[in-house]
């Protein structure tokens, strides 16, 4: 089978969820109750709004991740072709990794790898 048939798996997956949701929304008995629709917070009504600006503390991680993820894309072709490219490419990739490592070390020393 070809890669186009991926669409099949997409459809089958969606079908599985869709049919079950449909069944579940039609067959089981339903009862409405305003308290049922409350968000669960250990039995206490929620105070304040939920979606407010949130200090997640991993923006820096996201940025470092972005850097590394892009770099991984560069590594993939080399990894596949490494045997044919030989020693020269290896030395080049060592230099590339060295630069990456310096970057990581810098971020580490700067304290970017800390969840605040």
């Amino acid at each position: 089978m070809s890669a186009e048939s991926l669409i099949l798996f997409f459809i089958v997956g969606a079908f599985l969820v869709g049919i079950a949701l449909l069944f579940s929304s039609l067959v089981p008995p339903t009862s409405t109750n305003p308290q049922k629709a409350e968000a669960y917070e250990c039995g206490i009504p929620t105070e304040g709004i939920t979606w407010l600006q949130f200090n997640v503390g991993y923006y820096l991680f996201a940025i470092i991740f972005l850097v590394f993820d892009v770099e991984t894309v560069f590594i993939f072709p080399w990894a596949v072709m490494m045997k044919t490219l030989g020693m020269k490419a290896f030395i080049e990739i060592v230099i590339f990794f060295f630069v990456l490592g310096i970057g990581l070390l810098y971020a580490w020393k700067k304290g970017a790898l800390k969840w605040e």
């Binding site: 917070e41 250990c42 039995g43 206490i44 105070e47 304040g48 407010l52 600006q53 949130f54 200090n55 997640v56 503390g57 969840w115 605040e116």
Partner: protein, 375 residues
């Protein structure tokens, strides 16, 4: 650039995030509500809201006679029910100047230590569970079962025994008691090694608990954090040592102290205490003297008018019992100074600036029992 600097600070303040942990929350171990104010994952402050299971035991005590009070004390800190009973009995005996038989002292001390072990076992179980290691929970409960069986055989109940009574104990120990306690000690000495292997030495656990929830000795004293939690801060506050009662003055045991002041040290104190408790039981179990299981008491117990105070070391810390008597058969005022109540008050102080996950670990390390807070 200037605008960015001049952003009002109050905006950031408003981004506080309020979350209710409890009353229906897996890590509050009962119906305790903590209103946690968060900034991201960081706990800025928290307010405990208790009283969800306040039963007014102090008021109920005012209508009960002294022997009747005992069955209520079981329900204060249900995990150290024996010890709570013991406190009432000691107070009544002290006030009436009754001398209880030696056998009773032995039995009570052994029962207290068994209660301490099973309480710590359950604490260990739930500690593991709070940190996400569910397996610990079942190991702890499995081993606790043996103690409950020993109790059931002697006292008839597994949990709320009401075994002590003023002057002695309700009934003599079962003939199998000593044999079963020996069997328990033998098994548990092997099993407690598993506890260390699966949790204490685990690198994840160490990282989760070390340096978390620092409680200095001064704060521990000021907040009245007694028991293993206080001893984890290096405060020698064991009532069994400072004011020995029953057999504690005569047995050899160490007061476990640790000085790291964090969750890990509170954890290690309890682990060590289980060993010490087994040590105490071993010294006593073969030497229980023959004799009556109860002293002769009057049919109606009346305490002379006055004020009495009795302290015992429950599994969670110092249990203080303050009784004002007006000479009647019922106490005029009975106040329980329960350890968890004071231990809870420190939670806000030591969990500030920690993460939510740490808050759970700290709460578990303080070993709060909610009925003990609410009474």
């Amino acid at each position: 650039m200037k605008e960015i600097i001049n952003l009002p600070v109050s905006n950031i303040e408003e981004e506080e995030y309020h979350i209710n942990m409890g009353p229906q929350h897996p890590s509050t171990h009962g119906v305790l509500r903590l209103l946690v104010s968060l900034q991201g994952e960081m706990v800025r402050s928290l307010k405990p809201h208790c009283g969800y299971i306040h039963r007014g035991i102090e008021k109920m005590c005012e209508k009960d006679t002294y022997p009747q009070v005992i069955h209520l004390t079981d329900r204060i800190d249900y995990l150290s029910a024996h010890i709570n009973n013991h406190a009432v009995c000691l107070l009544v005996e002290k006030a009436l100047e009754v001398d209880v038989p030696e056998r009773v002292r032995y039995i009570r001390t052994i029962m207290d230590e068994l209660a301490r072990i099973q309480s710590h076992q359950l604490w260990w179980s739930s500690f593991g569970m709070d940190l996400g290691g569910l397996t610990c929970f079942f190991y702890g409960l499995r081993d606790r079962e043996m103690i409950l069986d020993i109790w059931e055989e002697t006292t008839g109940s597994r949990f709320l025994q009401s075994y002590n009574c003023p002057g002695g104990v309700m009934q003599d120990i079962h003939p199998n008691f000593q044999k079963k306690v020996h069997a328990f000690l033998k098994t548990f000495k092997k099993k407690i090694k598993d506890y260390d292997r699966i949790l204490s030495g685990n690198v994840i656990f160490e990282n989760r608990s070390q340096g978390v929830g620092i409680l200095s000795k001064e704060d521990a004293i000021s907040y009245g954090v007694t028991g293993p939690s206080g001893r984890g801060s290096g405060w020698s506050c064991d009532v069994r040592k400072t004011e020995p009662y029953s057999m504690y003055g005569k047995v050899q045991f160490n007061e476990v102290l640790r000085y790291e002041c964090d969750t890990y040290s509170r954890y290690m104190v309890r682990m060590q205490e289980m060993h010490e408790s087994m040590n105490i039981i071993e010294q006593l179990i073969d030497n229980i003297p023959e004799g009556e299981h109860s002293a002769k008491m009057k049919a109606v117990i009346k305490l002379p008018a006055g004020e009495y105070f009795q302290r015992v070391e429950s599994a969670r810390g110092e249990l203080g019992l303050f009784v004002v008597s007006d000479g009647n058969k019922t106490p005029y005022r009975m106040k329980f100074r329960t350890p968890s109540f004071s231990n809870l008050s420190v939670l806000d102080h030591i969990s500030r600036g920690m993460k939510i996950a740490d808050l759970v670990a700290i709460g578990a390390s303080l070993d709060l029992v909610i009925p003990d807070i609410d009474r």
